[in-house]
Symmetry: C2
Subunit: 341 residues, 2 copies
Amino acid sequence: MCFTNFRCFKSKKLKLMNYNETIEGILKGSRKHLAKAISLLESYREDDLLIAQNLLDELMPSTGKSYRIGITGIPGVGKSTFIEAFGEEILKFEPKKKIAVITIDPSSPKRGGSILGDKVRMNSLSRHENVFVRPSPSKGEQGGGALKTYETCLLMEAAGYDIIIIETLGVGQSEYKVGQMVDAFLLLHMPATGDELQGMKRGILELVDLLIINKCDGKLEHEGKLNKKIFEQVFHLSATKKKWSPPVLLASSKEKEGVGVVWQELKKFLLHQKKTRDFQKKRENQALECFNQQLIFKLNKKIREKETKLLSYEAIQEKIKNGLLCPSKAAQIVLENLMKA
Amino acid sequence: MCFTNFRCFKSKKLKLMNYNETIEGILKGSRKHLAKAISLLESYREDDLLIAQNLLDELMPSTGKSYRIGITGIPGVGKSTFIEAFGEEILKFEPKKKIAVITIDPSSPKRGGSILGDKVRMNSLSRHENVFVRPSPSKGEQGGGALKTYETCLLMEAAGYDIIIIETLGVGQSEYKVGQMVDAFLLLHMPATGDELQGMKRGILELVDLLIINKCDGKLEHEGKLNKKIFEQVFHLSATKKKWSPPVLLASSKEKEGVGVVWQELKKFLLHQKKTRDFQKKRENQALECFNQQLIFKLNKKIREKETKLLSYEAIQEKIKNGLLCPSKAAQIVLENLMKA
């Protein structure tokens, strides 16, 4: 191994960290070493990323043994509160499980996190010794963000986490990406009257394996039950005997009601997936898709490095957008330029 | 221009065809030259493809002026019959429009085409002087098929076609790909009772801009009307003021009823898209996406050409699938190997 020592990203003093120690630490479940490896992944420095990549590559044989759960929902639907109740419920049923949570960066109100910050977020859950809570590494970065979340997942698996929950914001494109990297995808919905029910993002229901109508307490309970019927009808449209039809569950994270049922239904779904071998197939495709994305990502980087005055990548894309350059010709020019240099 | 003459693909005798003549021919709307250019696109020969690419690149300034319409539906729903009635209806309203249709290859029953073959397919429509019917170029080819359909579209535009209809089979992945290359996506549905209504492909409704309940005649009319209500409710879920809510229309291609309304509603949709500038944005994204796909396609080809015993692309993919190689590391190895050679 060529890297025996590396500088840790984010530490203000140059701190020497032992490479092998980090690997051993992660495999032993050390939070400190896991956190440092994730920080390296998040770095913008080329050398940090290279170390993170090598670390991850050595840890690969110890990955893949968790359940990866995506949870989405629009701001205000109560994702954090639900995840906290959900995590505690899982630990009640299976106290030996280790749970990792990748949350939306809480410091940024734009991304839907609480402006109150880390400290009040999943306060009770995050203090549990078997739980590791970490903000999403994808802040603001275009394209590469979802890839980093995927790799963070792998690192967490190597550190022995059995269940990885990825919180994602129900706006923008993020939930499509997360939906494509998890084993199960949960949508949190808030009870709404017929007209308010409008505006649900098109495409989102297609990704869903379990729909949870949250905040089903007090005044909202009645509406929640009506909503349930509508969603069941929608899912019925795409139901076949072989396929999984997403259950629609009512829950109240506040009253901690119905959250245990979510875990039971989720386990049913995961077992169903394993039985039909869809679980493994999905994972294989996800890994290959991630590889393709990495290929594009790294290729784009190389193209930018090698662009000349004659061949500006931006100019090529502009020409394609305006229909002045045919995409296949453009791809050929770019590749030839890359190989020449 | 380096290619002044080229051998025409598919012709058994080596026939010399003039490059500039082909370009001029296409721009003048010659069916013969258009058909030959499409055949070159479909070729498996490297040299044919290079000519097709150069042809297309020169024709680019004359592309982009059509409406691209995708039509999908499961086998038996009556796609060909509908497209025939639809095309004739358009010509009734706008007799000067030129219509091109890319159909499912009719010679292959597996792909959902009629085994009776070309001759009885869209018999009446295809004889119209303003109509050009061509089977889809994507037969059996993995990955590249949709890209070729996209490029065929561009060639047809250069030949002056105002409306391009792309028929696609409502099974497999094809309609997702076609859904992402057209301006409007129509789903043909057959009236069904509640239980039969099941089994609709998940994800398909998300792509739809217009849903047509076809075969709404005789016994099926009543059920069709009931289905309409259910679909309207589904679309209502994702409706907002700004967004287009897909209309659900009843039609009978046999009785030629309701088909004219489809054209009127489709035009409303296209105008709505142009007004919100979504039309142009979608096209730009489609062109860039096509470029990315071409980049991956050509890159994969180059990787395969340059693979050594040490680096078999298949072996790398197998390792990624089995979680033994981390995707980012794999991408780096592949790119480095490519650049080295």
